[in-house]
Symmetry: C2
Subunit: 372 residues, 2 copies
Amino acid sequence: MSAFKYDLLKQDEGSQARRGRITTARGVIETPVFMPVGTAGTVKGLLPEALKEIGAQIILGNTYHLYLRPGHKLIQQLGGLHKFMNWDRPILTDSGGFQVFSLGELRKITEEGASFQSHIDGSKHMLTPELSIEIQQALGADIIMVFDECIPHPAERKYVADSTNLSARWAKRCREAMPAGSSDSALFGIVQGGMHTDLRKQSAEQLQEIGFEGYALGGLSVGEETSLMYEMMEFSLPLLPADKPRYVMGVGTPENLVEGVARGCDMFDCVMPTRNARNGNLFSSFGKISIKQAQYRDDETPIDPDCDCYVCRNYSRAYLRHLFMSREILSSVLNTHHNLYYYQQLMAGIRTALEEGRFHEFRAEFYRKRNQ
Amino acid sequence: MSAFKYDLLKQDEGSQARRGRITTARGVIETPVFMPVGTAGTVKGLLPEALKEIGAQIILGNTYHLYLRPGHKLIQQLGGLHKFMNWDRPILTDSGGFQVFSLGELRKITEEGASFQSHIDGSKHMLTPELSIEIQQALGADIIMVFDECIPHPAERKYVADSTNLSARWAKRCREAMPAGSSDSALFGIVQGGMHTDLRKQSAEQLQEIGFEGYALGGLSVGEETSLMYEMMEFSLPLLPADKPRYVMGVGTPENLVEGVARGCDMFDCVMPTRNARNGNLFSSFGKISIKQAQYRDDETPIDPDCDCYVCRNYSRAYLRHLFMSREILSSVLNTHHNLYYYQQLMAGIRTALEEGRFHEFRAEFYRKRNQ
């Protein structure tokens, strides 16, 4: 009997946006939610305490990376990923499919699974739906994703159709490897279908026939136009059951989050806030700034005067620029803290607006500030 | 009228060790003390809050680095180094002499000062005693060091004698640039003289004739045998006034600290705990371990079972090894935290032992644990 459930608390009247709550064995997740990415058992540069301080409710772990290093069996032996990395709130793991897909020439896909070479040492591996589930369970993930192929864009329609069917067969094998209610963890299906609405519809139906605790949209933010991505969300999200959480994988910019919520999405993840932080690109209510610019050399104001995060309360742009130019470790630490806080605050603002029935105004205000 | 003073609280009976207290305008420093090095306006990888948590009472800043980047005038304009880096406890700055000396072929020394080329962009600069004081005052240091030449080892006796005299003339110019009692900051003289006791004696006398708020030993830990370094400490420290703090610069290992204290030293600084941390070398009561070793792959114990630092309370050697092998930022953050905590705890233990009149037993126990 699984502890996992989703409660739809409030449906927005002017859009598909919804305020909800996911309950897991490791605690509650208020949605819509953004999940920071902790690829290799750490959200790069941040202590778990800092993640909690900025309001992270759930983080991501990457199956591909942890399988290769340090190995899922080792993590299991040491008590699971939560204990290993000192994080007691929920963790969602991806299936490894997206990373294997990213390897390009280094991977080969068959009915059985995906064979690939490690980016670390070139060693050969085969990831199957069954192994992906085994790894994610060994890690102790609270939300487990089915193993699928992430379809590149653009792609031939026949390739997309075949791949979507293959992913559906793999999704079934994942469900069989982890029957509903067999553990406290949830298994999410992933809708594929590329940029073809009929294939998206077919995929959504195939997955619901199998039955999952939640549903994700995969294969978005892979190089397509933003308007096309929104179109796919707008078409696909309403095809999914209203009483289950909906997750758009690997998305995205602050704008993408606001628009994703408006189209009915409950969960997001993306490396954007963390990777941008390490590159000195900082998010704010008025847009993104590149801290290395000479104009910030003697700027004693915080990144965002409207932000009340630890970084904005204590450090100037001039100091952050200095740390970045000097390639100091603290540069990544502080920039990551701020960017993730910005993302968490954005989602908290969205949730409050939904509760108070003013999501429409929130969305307008969000764009107004950026265009000032 | 300077706020700076030193109180000798207790003189050990079995050694030259002493328990004291330095008072500065920015707070009190219990001695003997170890000062973490914050080269470029940050103790690499650590937040100021973490530094306080581990008990750091005072940190170091490097004049050479901050002069070149971001520039002392910029830091002054922004309110000084304390505000810039969000650290409100005392800061000691070195004079830049040691770093310029480290540049080797890139620097040239004359009566006027040291001309050198920047390690960052090759630009040409001349550092003089007067400029060094100006920079350190602009940074807002609580303890300012005289500009001197750090003599390499081995060196010809004539070179050592001439250099020691030059450093004495420079020390006088520093004092003239910053007369006693002219500010809340203290100015420390630096005893040179290489490995020659007569030159060390001469240097100590020259400096006391000028008169400083504290005295340091320079030119140690520059490649000489440890026994020779101890001999120099043993000879030189008692030549300095008992009512002023004594600081051995750039030293050292945990053993060096214990032995330095036994010989009458009150203050230490060294990059050893921080640099070692970034290289995966971790200090403990039983010696140093290299976390990358394969034996720690599945080791679920903390770095040091006797350590109660944040890292040892929450993370296994296996996790720290994983972070190090994956070159994760958190590896440097956690390792630095632990190593500096170890150093701070060592000094706190020494201070308590001195208060309780059992420094002799503390020293014996320190070696017993390491030889188990």
